[in-house]
């Protein structure tokens, strides 16, 4: 293991080098991701600042939509799919705003950026954390959809599509929230910026859930799953690259 910078021109950081020698690059990244995730979870469990409004909003969206469209639709499962993804889609920016909009976030980020953690670990840790928050919200929304709109629970592909949707939204959301967090007047702007970018997820997710609930076979809905994977892969890869640029600007 060498202690010299990996790429020519890179700034030599002795702390990084010692950590790399002790853990190896992959283990060091995994450890960094876990530390960021664990720290964020501890703060969230203590304050419930993001998950409570997200869960409440997710539930309210399902409740209000069910009330509005109660008058009998021709395809109730299509309605259920739209309401479920609508709840996730609207609750997502609330979590991002609560988590990354406050002054505590700047202090938290300054602390993280001055620590010897690898930079990709910051993005990946925050991505997993936001994804987990969204998954918790989706559990509330899914139960509400099952109760109010009589949608069947417990289908594996529904759960997989929700996991993929939450992680895709989180991958784009973390980048956009980092972009808007430096703004003085960022109230509401995060939603305006992140929602159009993640609208493809909403369209794909709604079509996928509708197809699954209508009993379609794997061959007829597999392209939606591939599109979800493609979107997630592109946004995650782009997010890893973009976050590096954004953190540099933050410093």
């Amino acid at each position: 293991m060498t202690l010299s910078p990996a790429t020519p021109g890179a700034i030599y950081d002795p702390t990084q080098a010692v950590l790399q020698r002790r853990y190896g690059p992959v283990r060091q990244l995994g450890r960094g991701v876990w530390l960021v995730l664990w720290q964020s979870l501890q703060v969230e469990v203590r304050e419930w600042s993001a998950i409570a409004p997200m869960g409440a909003l997710g539930f309210l969206v399902v409740l209000i939509m069910s009330l509005i469209f109660d008058a009998g639709t021709s395809d109730p499962l299509a309605l259920a799919a739209g309401v479920l993804w609508g709840a996730l889609y609207l609750a997502g920016p609330v979590g991002l705003e609560r988590q990354n909009g406050g002054p505590d976030f700047h202090a938290f980020m300054s602390y993280l950026l001055s620590s010897p953690l690898p930079r990709p670990a910051l993005y990946l840790g925050m991505w997993l954390f936001q994804g987990l928050l969204l998954l918790c919200t989706s559990c509330v929304a899914l139960i509400a959809v099952a109760v109010f709109l009589n949608a069947p629970l417990g289908q594996v592909w529904i759960l997989i599509s929700i996991v993929l949707g939450c992680m895709g939204f989180s991958a784009a959301g973390v980048v956009v929230s980092a972009l808007t967090a430096t703004l003085k007047k960022s109230q509401g702007l995060l939603a305006v910026v992140v929602l159009p970018l993640t609208l493809p997820l909403f369209l794909i997710g709604t079509s996928l859930c509708r197809a699954i609930w209508n009993g379609a076979s794997w061959s007829s809905f597999q392209h939606w799953v591939y599109l979800l994977l493609l979107y997630n892969g592109m946004v995650l890869w782009g997010g890893l690259w973009a976050s590096e640029q954004i953190w540099q600007e933050w410093q």
């Binding site: 784009a172 972009l179 808007t180 929602l195 493809p200 973009a242 954004i246």
Partner: protein, 239 residues
């Protein structure tokens, strides 16, 4: 005095555009043969097609400029590229909104409604919303370097919606026709093969003029943004 000074280029471009736009409108609205497979109001409304495709090509040139300029900014970190990217988005948005509005006007006689949630229409609306969000984001920053960097990063993400819009009509077949993919069995017209000579001329002239309009507007807006920076610098020096 060189003939390539800005005021002269501006004057020539304006004259060419006014003459070209008048000619292309005449070709599209008068000279081009009516569509033989349509009748009545639908046949008349079909002529919006030439404006619709023209506005679309203007949007494309604007968003492509924004993408290219954003990549160049990230490589070279020169603020002039950022201003070009912003100019491209503004002009692209005019083209994008023109495409949506002309499409809606055409849709009423053709499909019976102004708007339907067809995949192509939906993705085109997303495209416009994404680039409106780009302008909103840019306006929020005070530091020009941060504005340029974060704008360039967002522009790269936003560009993903362009291939998505193009391929949406091919991947998810619905009511919107496919125009430029003759190898696809659902394609309703490859513009060289399926259109008659006068319709082809109308389409090509309209796309050409709108493309020139887009390039000219981008250049003018870019110059205006550069002047804006110079004026601000002078103002700061004075005060």
């Amino acid at each position: 005095m060189s003939i390539f000074t800005w005021p002269r280029v501006h004057g020539w471009a304006t004259c060419t555009l006014v003459a070209g736009m008048a000619l292309s409108l005449w070709v599209g609205l008068v000279h081009a043969a009516p569509a033989v497979n349509l009748i009545g109001a639908e046949q008349t409304a079909q002529r919006i097609f030439y404006v619709h495709m023209g506005a679309n090509s203007m949007a494309l040139v604007g968003f492509l400029t924004s993408f290219g300029a954003s990549v160049l900014y990230l490589i070279q970190r020169k603020l002039a590229w950022d201003r070009l990217a912003a100019a491209g988005v503004e002009v692209g948005l005019i083209g994008g909104l023109g495409t949506l509005i002309s499409g809606s006007i055409w849709a009423k006689p053709a499909w019976g409604v102004y708007w339907t949630w067809d995949p192509r229409l939906t993705t085109a609306a997303i495209l416009v919303l994404v680039y409106i969000a780009y302008l909103q984001l840019r306006n929020g920053f005070e530091n020009p370097r941060t504005q340029a960097l974060f704008g360039a990063i967002y522009a790269l993400f936003a560009y993903v919606t362009i291939p998505l819009t193009y391929y949406s009509a091919i991947w998810f077949r619905s009511i919107h026709p496919i125009m430029f993919l003759a190898s696809n069995p659902d394609a309703e017209g490859e513009f060289v093969a399926a259109l008659g000579p006068s319709m082809r001329l109308a389409l090509q002239s309209s796309m050409g003029v709108f493309l020139l309009l887009g390039v000219t507007l981008i250049a003018l807006r870019w110059r205006m943004l550069n002047f804006d920076v110079r004026v601000r610098t002078l103002w700061l020096r004075l005060h």
